[in-house]
């Protein structure tokens, strides 16, 4: 508890100010609490760099169809330009006999052989996430090679590409579940804490009953009734099965934060600024959501990364058990399941688990740094 060294020579600013001629004093830079905390977060290197890494990877993962795909970016065929990544062309368009999507890697070899100046521009990694590469020498799963650094899985699909797509799926899923779970949980907690009394009593009992429902059995029952289907060619966010699973998980995930927000509301609503706001005629919803909520968000922000971790793990677990997203959605859990069935194929065990571990670790680092950035006791520990 030592004072800063400069303290004894410090002149109290009020006294000092009255002695200097009345010049225009530039007021201290107006900095909100959030800016302050973000600045502190940025100082915490490990968490901040993890945040940058995860954020960058996540943003990039939305452009994966342009980076790792078996569909060409640009085709110049008979002098005309085609953009297959944006528009579907049947194989016959490019003189191939197959039904459906053309084999663009084959097309590239064919067009290069003709020497007419036609060409195909493939993505940097020319393999799709759901494409079975059955033309390799041995039968799948194939061990890592120069072309497929992480090997292929038991259906001959490139593990690296599937892991990359799986990252997008996992993060998107976890963020969606967390968002919806928190939206509902925070609203419920706010209502319980603000209205208190009978609302609180009744609400808590409902939550207790609800949280005692066995989550896993519910999932099994629902997925045996509503058979999740994979709609090929559709963007991930348009898959109804994704939203079904998000809804189910969010429905079982909101109770945790509710108790924290309820407590925050109980504490905050007794504070003077709330009374002062009521006394100025602010409406009830204004008090709840404009005045109290921003002061009650600390648990939301500091728990969110850990909830994301939990939800990534939840999806992996569900996929592993076969109750997750329908095949052939690129999924980490499904790959880990394959690894368990093929324990001798080390690349099916090592890479999916490694990627899962790394992601969870980085997100935990972020969460840790956020928690520390929100810690008001800056000097609570001896360093």
């Amino acid at each position: 508890m030592s004072e800063p060294a400069a303290a004894p020579t410090h002149v109290p600013s009020d006294l000092g100010a009255s002695m200097v001629p009345p010049t225009v004093v530039e007021p201290a830079h107006a900095e909100s609490l959030f800016t302050k905390r973000f600045r502190k977060f940025r100082r915490l290197r490990r968490g901040y760099y993890s945040f940058i890494a995860v954020l960058t990877a996540y943003v990039i993962s939305f452009f994966l169809p342009l980076i790792a795909n078996n569909i060409a970016l640009v085709v110049k065929y008979n002098g005309a330009y085609y953009f297959p990544f944006a528009k579907y062309y049947p194989a016959t368009q490019f003189g191939q006999t197959a039904i459906g999507e053309p084999d663009y890697r084959q097309l590239r070899r064919d067009l290069a052989a003709t020497g007419r100046g036609d060409w195909v521009l493939m993505p940097p990694i020319p393999f799709g996430p759901n494409e079975a590469l059955l033309d390799l020498e041995s039968s799948p799963p194939n061990p890592p090679s120069r072309l497929h650094p992480f090997g292929t899985d038991d259906r001959g699909r490139d593990v690296l590409v599937r892991l990359a797509y799986g990252f997008n799926v996992s993060m998107t899923f976890a963020i969606l579940v967390t968002t919806f779970g928190y939206l509902f949980g925070v609203t419920a907690g706010a209502a319980l804490g603000y209205f208190s009394g009978k609302v609180d009593m009744l609400g808590q009992r409902i939550i207790e009953i609800w949280s005692s429902l066995p989550f896993l059995y519910t999932i099994m029952i629902i997925s045996s009734v509503v058979v999740p289907v994979y709609l090929p060619g559709r963007y991930l966010l348009l898959q109804p099965s994704l939203w079904l699973l998000v809804a189910i998980l969010a429905a079982f995930d909101w109770m945790g934060i509710t108790y924290y927000i309820r407590g925050e509301f109980y504490r905050e609503k007794a504070k003077d600024y709330v009374g002062a706001a009521i006394a100025t005629g602010v409406s009830e919803t204004g008090i709840m959501f404009r005045h109290i909520l921003p002061n009650a968000l600390t648990p939301v922000v500091s728990f969110a990364p850990f909830t994301i971790v939990a939800n990534i793990s939840a999806l992996v677990a569900l996929d592993f058990l076969g109750f997750g997203l329908p095949a052939p959605t690129p999924s980490w859990g499904e790959l880990i399941g394959q690894g368990m069935e093929n324990l001798t194929k080390w690349w099916l065990v090592f890479y999916p688990l490694g990627v899962l571990f790394l992601t969870l670790l980085l997100v935990v680092f972020i969460g840790e740094a956020i928690r520390e950035a929100f810690d008001p006791k800056e000097f609570s520990r001896l360093r």
Partner: protein, 333 residues
């Protein structure tokens, strides 16, 4: 003078596990237009609860206004709807609280908090609200209001925050300002400034009244026109300021005045102390609430509650020693 606010038979009880606390038990009080009325009493005498009852800010549960009426410009504030009382709060009647350090929301800028009141009650554009916020902050003496509007409460000192609270309370030109111990939490040097500011702001708004709640008789002497003394949830004495200080009627008021040092007196005087402490609010005496501490208590006091009577013009007292022909019944030492 027209009565702006008339409180009649107000009873606010708190229902707690240890019984019913009759914090306010039959208070009658009038505030005239343009008047500064002081409401004085010890902690727990019910003065703050009276003020909160006016704006219906009593937390329910555990508190409830069980009886009485509060007539504001002829309307009973206890009978109107939630929306109507919300319209009155901050607009017609506003309040300044004791704790400037915690009465502002820490996550919003000062500007947002001043503008919020304006926009809660009037359909004005953001620019107009901003302009008026700057105006009122200038008026309450915040230097460089434009740039300070962008700052957060933690950039302001206690005195400045109380200035902001007064700005928020007065920006819509209310007819009544309730100030609940507005200077208690401030430095002595700042206290006078804040009181002056409140009176100055009142002067500029002709006809505005102030209900000043305090336990500080010095504050009352400087600022108020009339004083009501509360004890045990009841008004014990109401008098014009001069009469109360020169000839206090009630033994309790007498005790209060005897417990403050005077600087003008020539003879050295021992400060007197009111013996005992405020009785437990759950078990107040049946008769006079002050009987347990009153040096003049006699036979009817413990059992019969004295009525509030007007013994001298405008000078009301609740004590069995009165009527006494408009003179104090207690020797002035």
């Amino acid at each position: 003078m027209n009565q702006l606010l008339s409180i009649r038979g107000l009873r606010t009880y708190f229902y707690t596990e240890s019984g019913v606390a009759k914090a306010v038990d039959g208070v009658d009080l009038d505030i005239a237009e343009g008047e500064v009325l002081g409401l004085v009493g010890e902690s727990g005498s019910g003065k703050s609860v009276t003020a909160l009852s006016v704006l219906r800010l009593i937390p329910d549960p555990p508190g409830r206004i069980v009886a009485g009426e509060i007539l504001y410009k002829g309307r009973d504030l206890l009978k109107i709807s939630q929306d109507e009382i919300r319209e009155i709060r901050g607009n017609e009647i506003s309040m300044v609280f004791q704790e400037p350090m915690t009465s502002l929301n820490p996550v919003f800028t000062i500007g947002m908090q001043v503008m919020e009141v304006i926009q809660a009650h009037q359909q004005v554009s953001k620019d107009e609200a901003h302009r008026r916020a700057v105006e009122i902050l200038t008026e309450v003496g915040i230097p460089e209001p434009e740039s300070r509007m962008k700052q957060y409460p933690h950039h302001f000192s206690g005195g400045q925050r109380q200035r902001v609270m007064i700005a928020i309370a007065l920006v819509l030109n209310p007819s009544l300002l309730i100030a609940d111990e507005p200077t208690t939490a401030l430095d002595v040097t700042i206290q006078a400034q804040i009181l002056d500011l409140m009176l100055e702001m009142k002067e500029r708004r002709k006809g505005a009244s102030i209900l000043l709640i305090t336990h500080n008789l010095a504050v009352v002497a400087e600022t108020c026109d009339r004083v009501a003394v509360m004890y045990g949830g009841k008004i014990q004495e109401i008098a014009p300021i001069d009469a109360l200080f020169k000839e206090p009627f009630h033994p309790y008021t007498h005790g209060l005045l005897g417990s403050i040092p005077s600087v003008d007196g020539t003879k050295a005087r021992r400060l007197t102390v009111i013996p005992g402490s405020v009785p437990d609010i759950h078990s107040l005496p049946v008769g006079c609430k002050f009987v347990t501490r009153c040096p003049y208590a006699f036979e009817p006091c413990p059992d019969i509650e004295p009525p509030l009577i007007e013994d001298a013009p405008g000078h009301w007292v609740r004590c069995h020693l009165y009527p006494n022909g408009g003179k104090p019944a207690i020797p002035n030492d």
